[in-house]
């Protein structure tokens, strides 16, 4: 199909330029921060930096990596980002398998579904949830970063639909005839088939856990327990140093621009690393989740 009008040619040129510009605006902030993080303190404070470093130095990074509070928070963030999705996927896959059976097979299936769907629509809110966490003695515990996020009903529903549509009934029946229990069927048949879907959901889960800061903020009273996101929030964004017990000098030092920039960039690195994998499973995952008639 060929389109040769001059109007179309103008449009095409305009289109390429516009899209390139939009894509550029999406990475420009990252480039700016990257540049600030590699620049000298003087240049940063003089607001000279645009998109390239001035007075190239890795001092800011050396200092951030040497800062034990930052590294402790990094560790905690990493730990929750590994443990969290694993536990979440385990819970979700098991439940999705059971709930993908029709109600003729699994008598209470519909009751469970309504149970979960209602929880998705209505919740107690910030304060009551905080009180529950407190009475469960989860405040300041590592598990408060994992457990509340473990059950994601959207993921559950996606997986249920996937199990129903992508595993041939014949396969299931064959296993049943051969005397396989439900648990065996799950692990030996459904799981291998579902790897792309599970991989996609896990990757999204990883990003959510890494970026999650609010739970750390309200449920941890000691800053040593902060995951990285929360640490960044208090130091870099809200500059709320009250919980940190730092001296005035230390405070002034930490709010220094290149230091902040390096901390910001260090915390984006894991997301950037996961990004190409996200890409690969991405469109499949989106088609899974998009509207189906």
């Amino acid at each position: 199909m060929k389109y040769n009008s001059t109007a179309y040619k103008f449009f095409t040129i305009f289109n390429y330029i516009l899209l390139a510009f939009l894509a550029f605006t999406c990475i420009m902030p990252m480039l700016h921060i990257l540049a600030v993080s590699f620049s000298s303190k003087a240049a940063a404070n003089a607001n000279l930096i645009k998109l390239l470093p001035i007075g190239f130095t890795i001092d800011a990074y050396a200092e951030s990596i040497g800062n034990r509070y930052f590294m402790k928070a990094f560790e905690i963030g990493l730990a929750r980002t590994i443990v969290g999705p694993v536990i979440s996927m385990l819970v979700t896959v098991m439940a999705a398998f059971a709930l993908s059976k029709e109600s003729a097979q699994f008598k209470y299936r519909n009751m469970y579904m309504w149970f979960f769907v209602f929880a998705m629509f209505f919740n107690g809110g910030m304060i009551p949830t905080y009180m529950v966490i407190r009475s469960l003695k989860l405040l300041n515990s590592f598990w408060v970063l994992i457990l509340p996020l473990a059950l994601n009903v959207y993921n559950l529903i996606l997986l249920i639909n996937f199990f129903r549509t992508s595993v041939p009934k014949a396969l299931e029946e064959a296993a049943y005839i051969d005397g396989a229990s439900h648990i065996r069927t799950l692990f030996n048949i459904f799981l291998p088939v579902a790897i792309p879907a599970i991989a996609t959901l896990t990757l999204f889960n990883i990003v959510i856990h890494w970026n999650s800061y609010f739970d750390g903020l309200i449920y941890m009273t000691h800053r040593e327990n902060y995951p990285l996101s929360t640490f960044l929030q208090t130091i870099v964004v809200s500059e709320n140093f009250s919980a940190t017990g730092l001296t005035a000098d230390q405070v002034k030092h930490i709010s220094e621009r290149t230091l902040k920039a390096s901390q910001i960039f260090l915390s984006v690195i894991p997301v950037l690393l996961v990004y190409p994998f996200l890409q690969r499973y991405f469109v499949k995952g989106i088609v899974l989740g998009s509207i189906k008639e």
């Binding site: 990475i27 700016h32 910030m126 469960l136 998009s290």
Partner: protein, 310 residues
């Protein structure tokens, strides 16, 4: 209901219960989590009707009925806050339907695959960054006297803008940055939908001598509108949420009047000022209204496009 081996009546009742218990076991962890973190907080909502004092606990704090709600709705603050919340939510819903839509249409016209893929990859990057990261970057870039954006503005000869400190500019900034963050990701979904449109439609239109614009107007758009409508209706369910993370990480005392939303107010009132009862009251109000809107939304989506959640 199809008859197959799996749904045949099992004459041996013992055999069924032995098998079924495994399924219950598999759902059990999820049920426990839901009970602990979704359902038990609902009981905590009772403090919205009490004059709650943590020392006295749930059972011994005075029950004061709707007092908290009366106090809440008699102060003028709450109306401004609800207005802000709705303003942000609705504006974002509308713009986040239009911008990705147009962007997807434009991107679809690109024929060089490597250009198209590169743009796609770059454009949905902001979606995966948290508002903590973006907040840190934007606070730096949007500041007066030295922020990158203001420097560019001044180079062009205009006056500096106090993006995050002036109420109206704050609203503008919130909307623009929210769209900037999400448009790429939303466009991917729309692109997926576009690629699902039957190509023979376009071929026959070409045969009939149509222009690109006509094809877009009469084929692409009508095929996409149903999906967009459904997405729009479903996102209404979120209408009172208006993205707490973004506002929380970008706001400050100067813009409370125009920028505060329900959730940020609840946070300050409840967790910072320890005014638990009133805070829970607002939270409950929000949950109930959201719930109603979601039910209506999903009901509409079902009527219009037969979309079911399960």
């Amino acid at each position: 209901m199809e008859h197959n081996l799996l749904t045949m009546k099992r004459s041996n009742k013992l055999k069924r219960t032995r098998k079924d218990y495994q399924l219950h076991l598999l759902v059990l962890p999820a049920v426990v989590l839901a009970l602990l973190f979704s359902y038990s907080p609902m009981f905590g909502l009772v403090i919205a009707f009490q004059n709650f004092k943590p020392a006295r606990g749930f059972f011994r704090s005075d029950f004061i009925g709707l007092e908290n709600f009366k106090v809440l709705f008699s102060s003028s603050d709450i109306y401004q806050i609800i207005f802000n919340t709705l303003f942000f939510a609705l504006t974002k819903i509308v713009i986040l339907l239009l911008v990705p839509f147009v962007f997807a249409l434009l991107l679809n016209e690109i024929n060089r695959m490597y250009f198209k893929r590169t743009i796609q990859t770059l454009v949905y990057l902001p979606h995966f960054m948290s508002w903590v990261i973006l907040g840190g970057i934007l606070v730096d870039m949007l500041r007066l006297d030295g922020g990158f954006i203001n420097q560019i503005i001044q180079m062009v000869g205009l006056k500096q803008v106090f993006f995050l400190g002036n109420g109206n500019w704050f609203r503008f900034t919130i909307i623009i940055t929210a769209v900037w963050k999400e448009f790429g990701f939303s466009a991917i979904v729309i692109l997926a939908a576009i690629s699902g449109i039957d190509p023979t439609l376009y071929e026959s239109a070409y045969m009939d001598g149509s222009t690109k614009w006509q094809q877009c107007r009469y084929i692409t758009m009508p095929c996409l509108v149903p999906i967009m409508v459904v997405v729009g209706i479903l996102s209404l369910g979120n209408i009172l949420n208006a993205d707490f993370d973004q506002i929380f990480n970008l706001y400050n005392g100067l813009v409370y009047d125009k920028g505060d939303i329900i959730d940020t107010y609840v946070y300050r009132l409840g967790l910072l000022q320890a005014n638990y009862s009133v805070s829970a009251a607002i939270g409950m109000f929000k949950s109930v209204v959201s719930f109603i809107v979601i039910i209506i939304g999903y009901g509409l989506a079902y009527r219009i496009a037969k979309y079911r959640i399960f």
